[in-house]
C-alpha cells in the first residue's frame, strides 16, 4: 500500500460497518463500547472478518474480537498489523 492506514481511519470504517449491519443506531455507541454490545453476533462477526479481509487484505478469524473487544482496540490492533506486514 502506498499510504499508511491510521488507527483513526480504521475505527471510522469499523463504525461505518457496524451502522451498516443495522443492529444499532449511529451515535448510540462509542469506539469504546464492547463489540458484543453493538450487535456483533456470530454472523456479523464473520461478516466483519470478511470485510477486513476484502478491504485490508488481512486474514482474520472471529477470535480476533476476543483479543480486541472494542472498536478502538480492534482498530489499533489492525493498524499495528498493517504496519508490520
Amino acid at each position: 500500500m502506498s499510504t499508511i492506514t491510521t488507527s483513526a481511519e480504521i475505527s471510522d470504517w469499523i463504525v461505518g460497518r457496524i451502522v451498516f449491519y443495522g443492529k444499532v443506531a449511529e451515535g448510540s455507541f462509542t469506539v469504546d463500547t464492547p463489540l458484543s454490545d453493538v450487535g456483533l453476533d456470530s454472523i456479523y462477526a464473520l461478516s466483519l472478518c470478511a470485510d477486513i479481509e476484502d478491504l485490508y487484505g488481512l486474514e482474520v478469524e472471529p477470535e480476533i474480537f476476543e483479543e480486541f473487544p472494542t472498536i478502538q482496540q480492534l482498530a489499533d490492533g489492525l493498524a499495528a498489523r498493517l504496519q508490520t506486514r
Binding site: 449491519y21 443495522g22 443492529k23 444499532v24 443506531a25 448510540s28 458484543s36 454490545d37 453493538v38 450487535g39 453476533d41 456470530s42 454472523i43 464473520l46 461478516s47 472478518c49 470478511a50
Partner: protein, 584 residues
Amino acid sequence: MTGTLIEMLRSTADRVGDEHGIRFYETREESAFLGYAELDRSSRTMAAALSQRGLVPGDVVVLALNSDLEFIRAAYGALYAGLAIAPAPVSETNAPDVMRARIAEIAAASGARLIISQEAVLDRFRPLPTAESFGSVAVTTVAELRNAGDAKAWTEPAIDEGALATLMFTSGSTGDPKGVVSTHGTLLSSMEALTPSLNGTPDSVIVGWAPFHHAMGFAVAVILPAYLAASAVLTTAVQFQRRPIFWLQLISRHRGTMSAAANFAFALCTQFATDEQISELDLSSLDVIVNGAEPVRTETMRAFLDRFSSAGIRESMMAPGFGATETMLVTMKQLGQKMVVLDFDATALESGTLKPVTKSERSVELVSCGVAGPGCIVAIADPSTGERLADGQVGEIWAAGPNIAHGYWRRPDATAEAFGAHLADDEHDYYRTGDLGALINGEMFVTGRLKDLIIVRGRNIYPQDIEAAAARFHPAVGMGTAFELTGHPADVGIILEVDGNETPLDNAELNTLALNLRSDLVHQFSLPSLAIGFLVAGELPRTALGKVRRAFTRSALENGQLRLVYADGFSPRVQDAARSVAAG
C-alpha cells in the same frame, strides 16, 4: 414401491457415471468434485470395511463430520452396509467441550456402535479424544474405512424401503434428545414429493450451503442430487456467513437451477450485496429458490426480489415452503407460479380466522407456503379437540403421508404425543407439527407456533433449555423465560429473576453476572446473540400454577410493563427504562 437409497445411488451411478456429481467449495477458490460412480465405489469400499468390523444391518453409526464430501461418502458408506446414520452437529460450533458432549449424547441416545469422524474434526479436540470421550463408543475416520475396505468384498444388504436410514436429532431439550426416525422409503418419498415443484431432472444444478445435520441441508446436499442424478454445487455455512453473496455467485457461476435457504439468508444477501457485485451476477438459470426452515416473511421476499431482479431473479422462482425435520417439506409453491400474498383482517386473525380484506392499517400480510406436494396430506386441526377445522380457520397444522417420519427413536412417550394423531373423517396417521396455520383453497398460510420454540437461523432451540441452563449457572439466578426478539440488537432474549440474598443488586455486580451468563449460554446453545434482563425475585409473570408465561412476558417487555433492574442487548427503549428503574 420406492426401493432403497442403495438402489437409488447404484442406478444413478449406472446412468451418469462420474459425469454428474457433487462439487464442494471449501474456500471461495478451491473446490473438489465427487462423481456418482466414484461415490458408489467408495460406498461399497466403506460398507465392506464396516461389515468387517462386525456391524450388521440395523446398527446405528454417528457421523461426527463437517458438512463436506467426506460426510457424503460416510453417509452412503454406512447406508450401503444397511446401517442407519445419526449426524452430529459438529459444524455448528468450534467449542470442543460442547461438540464432545453433543456427539456423546447422540451416540448414547441412538445406541450407536461406532462414530465415524475425520481428522479435521478430531484435530479440534485437545487432547485428541479417546473412546471414553464418547461414552465408550469407538471412533474411526472416513480415511481409515476407505483404506480398510475392498469394494469387491461388498454384498448388498438384504434390506427394503422399511429399513431405518437416518436419525436426525433435533436440537431438542438438553438431556432429552429426540432422534427423528426416517426409513429409506421416507426419504425417497419426500424426494418424490419435491421433484415436480423443483423441476428436478438429471440436468438440474442444485446449489446449497446449509449444514448436513440439518434436515434441509441433508435433503438438498446428500439425498436430492443423487436421487435426481443431478449436479450439486455446495459450500459451507461459514463461507456463506462470511460473504452471503458467495451463495449467489455460485448459482451464477455454475448456472444453478435450484437452491434452498431459510428466510434469514435472503435478508443477509439483500443487506450485503453491493451494486457492483449484483451487476456481475446472472441468476436467470434458476427455476426455483426455496424459502423454508423458518417462518417466511413477505417483506424479506419482496426486498430480495427487488434487489436482485436486475440479476435475473423473477417472482416465479421464489418458492416459500413449509416443513419440519419430521416431515421434510410438505407444502411448497408450485413451479412457475407467482407467490400468493394476501392481506387478512388483524382482529379476525387474533380470534383465529383468516379473513381476506383489502390492505389497510388493520390488515396483516401473509405469503402462502404453497400447496401439499404429491402424496403429502395436510390438515388443520383444533389442537385441543383434534377436530378438523374449516378453510380459513387457524389451527394446528397436521401432516400425513409416506414422507412423514416414523417417530422419535426409542421414545414411545414423545412419539405418542406428536405422531399417530387421527381425524374423525379419514384414516391417516397425522404428525402434529406444533405450528399454527390455516388453509385457503389448498394454500397453506402459517400464522405462528403453538409451542414456544425459538427458531434462530433455521435452528430449533427450546426455551426451557436456555432457562434451565441459566438457573444452573449461578445460585442468584432463578426462574426465567426465553423467547425470540425482533427489533432488538439481539435475536434471542431471556428475562430472569435474581435473588438479592445471593448477589447485591447493584449495577456492577449484575453487569458481571450478565456478561458471564451470556458467554456461557451463547457458547452452550450456539446462539448468535442474547439479550439479558433481570427482575427482582417474584416479579416474573407466571400462571396461577406458577409456570412461566413466555408470550405474555415478551409483550410485557415490549409494552414497558416489566420493571427490569438490569438490561443488556435490548432496544434503546427497553435499555433506558431499565436504567431509570436502576437509578431508582
